[in-house]
Amino acid sequence: MLNKLTLTKTIQGLKNKKFSHRELYADVQKSIEQQNKDLNVYLTLNEKALDTAEELLETPLAGVPIAVKDNFCTRDFRTTASSKVLDTFKPQFESTVTSKLKKSGGVIIGKTNLDAWAHGSSTETSGYGRTLNPRNTNHLPGGSSGGSAAAVAADMASSSIGSETAGSIRQPAAWCGAVGLKPTYGRVSRYGVAAMASSTDSPGPIAKTVEDAAILLNAFAGHDPLDGTSSAQTTPDFTQSLNTSVKGLKIGVIYQDVAEIGFANDKLMEQLKVFEDLGATVEKTQAMDPHYAIGVFTVVQRGEVSSNLARYDGIRYGNDRSLFGDEAKRRQMLGTYTLSKGYSEKYYELAQKVRTLLIQDLNRLFETYDVLICPTSPGFAKKVGATKGQAMFGELEDMLVEASAVAGLPGINVPYYRDPKTNLFLGMSIIAPMWREDLVIQAGDAFEKNTSWNTWRNES
């Protein structure tokens, strides 16, 4: 059962020769063979993973198996972004993230399912069928990085890589009871990631523990000359923020007044007492109504989507535009409309102005608080089929993380409740100012280690 180990313990086990790559990969392959058919996590698998891994013992990640969302271009595997439009697309180049991952000794075990083009929060809109939530297969894993979150929750990889535009890392992590870290916009290169909304796309890790997420982020964060929006800031060692005292940390809890989220909010307040026990202060505070964030994000993101998907014009990738799914078509039409002459002032430009207000509002709160916390999603994972006829499904499920996403802020999801009947999880989003991943890692790690919600921490 080596596949159940955390990334940290897997690396340690390999380095200390407690077990071999062969043993580790045998367990991982077995879990994939047993579960992938039902869960539909992987679209493409790496047949040579073990051979590659065995050469990597001396590297920082020691050859551990990592699942990668299928919107990252990979030279060795086709890259579909879960759209049939790219069904046969085999990139001639490697995304910066996967290239750095490989250099650090991570092995791509497979490419995971997502909502087509990363449009969605369910992984139900994939051109390759829905992924199921490993915690409860009657439910959805969330999305768009649903495959990556499910791979972690089902122990089909040591960790995974996802990408978030607004919620796409944190929300599936929340629904699958895993840790998901969305870095600051510009911290991780977008080069080679099929663009969704270019102004907010942020690749990041989905992992079993906060420590695992920090280790994985270390592997691929940093400036990339191939991405003009990637920051030249120096990249800290994110593991330095683990096991540090949160004494004196000022925590603001936002969105407690949003009517839609009764239970998740109540449970959150209960759980946050842990921070007080650890010497932090916890205070409810008022942020701008998240419904504004839905409006801003919907308009900006659709606009950028309509532009980014225009290149799939049926000429170059072998498949014509009829293979776009309904969700992509809807977004392209809405985006085209909001950018049209006479309407762009009314929608796109107005949304950008409100976006500035949202950023100002969060900055204002950061004058008082070190971090802000809210539930990642209004509730538990929705049932399979829930997206049917729900064009705004994603926006409603992601409403609480959209403000921080459009503001480019770093955030982490950590589980804070498990329903004993359904085995489904609630997760909280810890948000910090730009470039302060250290704070969300510090707070997330402290919470995880002082509560028992993390299902991996206490095992093995």
Binding site: V193, E304, S307, D313, L339, S344
Partner: protein
């Protein structure tokens, strides 16, 4: 009344020029579309618009655009950005072109032409598209795309509707090309499309000041001669239509060089909607005063102002000064100026020199025309020798020549076998034997006579 006297011509121009940076505008691919041996060899995920390809702006191309702005009297925007311009065409890899919409790098400049000043609305920077080729392969009609040109930096210079004739349009185009070449930022190879001309032409009744309610665009013209001819043709065509009480159709027309006619290409029903928005992949620019000063300092003194200076410093006639300073290379111009300065210091005849130089009379013995790498003092010396008044007794000269020819039978044989450039060597021998400064042309002639007799 002649139609040309009844109507006034209103022309605005858009000129595209490819910058000759080493790499493309938004990726590291080589910028050499005309030198490429094969199609699509200078391409990468970025200029092919592949999923996840991201643009990173070429610093030099931006600096050069700003430089061009300053050289054409433009103001520069301290804040600027790139925007996406959406339209569908197979040669456009991303289905949008990265261009500049409402905040171009440069605005409100002008270029002087002999026929008057032409205002510049703006200069912006964008990326060029790929090139379509329609061919028949194995009896099948196919359309092929070459992306070597896709992503090459392209400046667009837009004028006010200030141009009033085909002649002035040509003057403007030539002047702009001269500036681009002199700044050493573009080759402007017209034939290959390195510089492309578009003119918007309409007519209004003399005395009217408002812009006409229509315009005809002539596109894809690759020579100044064709530009002038196309405009002249359009003026007559439009005047005839207006005379019949009708308004010419708003459309894009091309130039048929064989028939010497313009022809309709595309009718514009309504303004196109390009759905411009700021490119989120490219952070906007805030140019610092320091940076802009650096750009300003990099702009060389332009031929026009150098000519003005020559008039003052060297007392040259203006026309002569403008003519002589109209060279494409800054280095060459500085070389010419240092010669003029030395001539001026020696109180020699500058106009005579310019005439001699232009007529390629100043030659180095045994070599051809003097070049940029010739020491200016030597050029002056050659000029002085050319007009040296020292005379030589004809008998002595002929005697010396006879002597030299006898001693250099090899050279004479070579000359007779057609290698006439050997005469330079013989001239040198004669001059050395004489030990006198004699007009080389006199010696040359005498040797030629001796050789051919």
């Amino acid at each position: 009344m002649k139609l040309q006297e009844k109507y006034e011509v209103v022309i605005g121009m858009e000129v595209h020029a490819e910058l000759k940076t080493d790499s493309k505008m938004f990726c590291g691919c080589k910028n050499d579309p005309f030198g490429a041996e094969k199609p699509n060899i200078y391409t990468c995920p970025v200029c092919l618009g592949m999923p996840g390809g991201l643009p990173v702006a070429n610093k030099k191309a931006i600096a050069w655009t700003l430089k061009l702005g300053l050289a054409t009297n433009c103001s520069l925007n301290k804040f600027s950005k790139f925007d996406r311009k959406h339209y569908f065409y197979p040669d456009l890899a991303k289905s949008y072109q990265i261009s500049q919409y409402d905040i171009p790098f440069c605005y409100e400049g002008y270029i002087d032409t002999p026929s008057g000043k032409v205002g510049l609305t703006r200069i912006h920077l964008e990326e060029d598209t790929g090139k379509l080729q329609h061919k028949v392969i194995n009896n099948k009609k196919v359309s092929l795309i070459d992306f070597n040109r896709g992503g090459v930096p392209l400046v667009e210079v837009v004028t006010e509707p200030d141009i009033t004739s085909g002649k002035q349009a040509k003057e403007y185009g030539k002047k702009l090309r001269h500036i681009l070449r002199f700044l050493d930022i573009a080759n402007c190879d017209m034939e290959q499309g390195g510089m492309r001309l578009e003119a918007n032409i309409s007519l209004r009744k003399k005395g009217e000041t408002e812009l006409p309610n229509y315009k005809v665009e002539i596109k894809n013209i690759n020579s100044f001669r064709f530009l002038e001819a196309a405009i002249n043709y359009e003026v007559e065509r439009q005047a005839e239509i207006l005379e019949q009480g009708e308004v010419p159709v708003q459309e894009t027309r091309g130039w048929n060089a064989v028939k010497s006619q313009t022809f309709s290409q595309r009718t514009k029903e309504s303004a196109e909607d390009y759905r411009y928005f700021p490119d989120p992949d490219l952070p906007p620019f805030h140019f610092s005063d320091e940076y802009l000063k650096e750009i300003k300092d990099s702009v060389p003194e332009l031929p026009e102002s150098i000519a003005q200076r020559w008039v003052k410093e060297f007392d040259l006639p203006l026309a002569k000064a403008i003519d002589f300073s109209s060279v494409d290379s800054e280095k060459l111009l500085h070389w010419l100026e240092s010669i003029l300065r030395e001539l001026h210091n020696k109180k020699l005849d500058l106009v005579l020199f310019i005439n001699d130089y232009t007529n390629k009379k100043i030659v180095i013995p045994s070599r051809a025309q003097v070049k940029e790498n010739t020491n200016p003092s030597e050029v002056v010396k050659l000029f002085e020798e050319l007009h040296s008044t020292e005379t030589i007794d004809e008998d002595i000269l002929n005697k010396t020549i006879k002597e030299v020819l006898t001693n250099n039978t090899d050279a004479v044989e070579k000359y007779n076998s057609g290698q006439t450039q050997i005469i330079g060597f013989l001239m040198g021998q004669v001059m050395r034997t004489l030990g006198k400064k004699v007009d080389p042309q006199v010696i040359r002639k005498a040797i030629q006579v001796a050789l051919e007799s």
